[in-house]
């Protein structure tokens, strides 16, 4: 039963990244609370819906668009990106090539889609399969905060669809940024300024969310 004073938001979110990084698994975990190591490869786009009781007055409905990893090579992404409000870009921490592809996905996204106010859509970076114990990031000494800042991500999370790590947190982070950009569409949205926080624990590492 919907209360009279309840607000409802509907957001279209994209989930993109190279093939086999776990986009479908993340969505299945988030929406259906389960995991299988044997999801079939996504063809074209898969669609899912998640309803969040954001706060006492607000219901957020998320349309999750799970876009096949191979699509960047075809020209179909433009059609799928249309009217999206936010994006997750996913890579697999065990495969360095999928991290290298992150910037290409981000460029693809920003070149084909901007918010009505002309800004790029908020994007959160997901370092998936963090349960596997093989960490490309640490090995390469890549500074993730720096990387996010340079490439315009509003935050990043180490996630595991298998162990259910950080997926809800990542989603809340993205939604928060979307709501912020919506409620204040004229003023420039600069949550991209990342405050250094040297002592933050590795798991909760959405740098931009420290704003709140």
């Amino acid at each position: 039963m919907q209360k009279h004073n309840q607000k409802e938001h509907l957001y279209k979110l994209l989930v993109i990244g190279d093939l086999g990084v776990g986009k479908t698994s993340i969505i299945k975990r988030y929406v259906h609370q389960n995991f299988s190591p044997h999801y079939r490869a996504t063809i074209g786009v898969d669609f899912a819906l998640k309803v969040l009781n954001w706060d006492a007055e607000t219901v957020v409905r998320l349309q999750l668009w799970d876009i096949a990893g191979q699509e960047r090579f075809g020209n179909m992404t433009r059609v799928y990106y249309r009217e999206a409000m936010g994006a997750f870009i996913v890579f697999d921490v065990t495969r360095p090539a999928t991290f290298e592809a992150v910037t290409k996905w981000k460029e693809d996204l920003d070149s084909k889609l901007v918010l009505p106010n002309g800004k790029p859509v908020p994007a959160v970076l997901l370092a998936n399969k963090c349960d596997q114990g093989i960490d490309v990031l640490m090995n390469n000494g890549i500074k993730m905060e720096q990387f996010c800042k340079e490439n315009g991500f509003v935050g990043w999370f180490e996630t595991s669809a298998k162990e259910n790590i950080n997926i809800n947190e990542a989603s809340r982070c993205l939604v928060k940024h979307i709501i912020a950009s919506e409620s204040d569409p004229v003023q420039s949205i600069e949550p991209d300024i990342i405050k250094p926080h040297l002592n933050s624990s590795k798991i909760v590492s959405c740098s931009a969310c420290f704003k709140s």
Binding site: L19, G20, H38, Y39, R40, A41, T42, I43, G44, V45, D46, F47, A48, L49, R61, Q63, A68, G69, Q70, F73, G74, N75, M76, V79
Partner: protein, 281 residues
């Protein structure tokens, strides 16, 4: 198929084709870890555990065979290379050939590696050539930007707008785009939408129909969509519609359902084929 019409020459052709395939394997398969080919190989390697049916694809022997088939095909067809979805298209042939040696009911929990090596070799080569033949007819589905699929999705939309305006309008009103659900119908030839046994039944007809995979398939897709008109018209929002269309309830489908579908597709084809403007407003 790829066998000659003359029955006497079939066996020798079959032998020659099998030899030819393994000559390709000999020639190309070692290059799978070369820099220029490793992306293709890696991609195939990732995709193979992600196809259906589950029981078959998890067997190392099957993985090995599928990897070879797909890699050789990709290397020999550089215009398209390997595209996701092609991996699925090997399965029906492979299963049919395996079923020559076992009871059909067994296929779900059959250990493929229990077949003699020579039999497996023949199955592998025959599956390759069948898949190859199939793909020859629909190559533009898998070249850059997949123009064949884009075109067929457009044609499907036009066809449905003529045969069932109500369904078409309903989808349009709720902003459901055909590409959002029918891309996969074209890319995987309905394999993802119906159980494997139904795919095999469906493809039997496609093979006996001229341009079955490239042309008749369109009418089958139209009939398939309209088959759900009642459910579609009952759904009143975009979300529910799309989730329904991407997860059509066909788990219990059997031959009977495919026969009905095909009959309807034939009806559409004949109503439409000689009169392309017949339904136009």
């Amino acid at each position: 198929g790829y066998l000659p019409a003359n029955v006497d020459r079939r066996e020798s052709t079959l032998q020659r084709k099998r030899k030819e395939y393994f000559a390709f394997v000999e020639q190309y398969y070692d290059s799978r870890n070369d820099e220029s080919h490793q992306d293709t190989y890696r991609q195939i390697h990732i995709d193979i555990p992600r196809m259906s049916p589950e029981v078959l694809r998890l067997q190392p022997k099957v993985t090995e065979i599928f990897e070879r088939i797909l890699f050789i095909w990709a290397i020999r067809h550089p215009a398209s290379g390997y595209v996701q979805g092609i991996n699925d298209l090997v399965t029906p042939f492979f299963v049919v050939f395996v079923c020559e040696y076992i009871e059909e009911e067994e296929v779900e929990n059959f250990d493929v590696s229990s077949l003699p090596e020579e039999v497996l070799h023949n199955i592998e080569a025959d599956s390759y050539w069948c898949m190859s033949k199939l793909l020859d007819g629909i190559q533009d589905n898998y070249t850059f930007a997949q123009p064949g699929i884009q075109k067929k999705v457009k044609m499907l939309e036009e066809l449905v707008s003529r045969i069932d305006e109500q369904v078409h309008r309903h989808l349009d009103q709720h902003e459901v785009k055909y590409l959002q659900f029918a891309f996969r119908w074209m890319n995987n030839l309905l394999m993802r939408e119906v159980p494997l046994r139904c795919t095999i039944r469906l493809w039997d007809t496609y093979q006996s129909e001229p341009e079955g995979f490239s042309h008749f398939h369109l009418y089958v897709c139209a009939a398939f969509l309209v088959r759900w008109r009642k459910e579609i018209l009952e759904e009143k929002d975009f979300q529910e519609l799309l989730i329904f269309l991407q997860n059509l309830p066909t788990v219990h489908w059997g031959n009977e359902d495919i026969s009905v579908l095909l009959a309807e597709a034939y009806r559409l084809k004949f109503a439409f084929a000689d009169a392309p403007n017949h339904y136009k407003k």
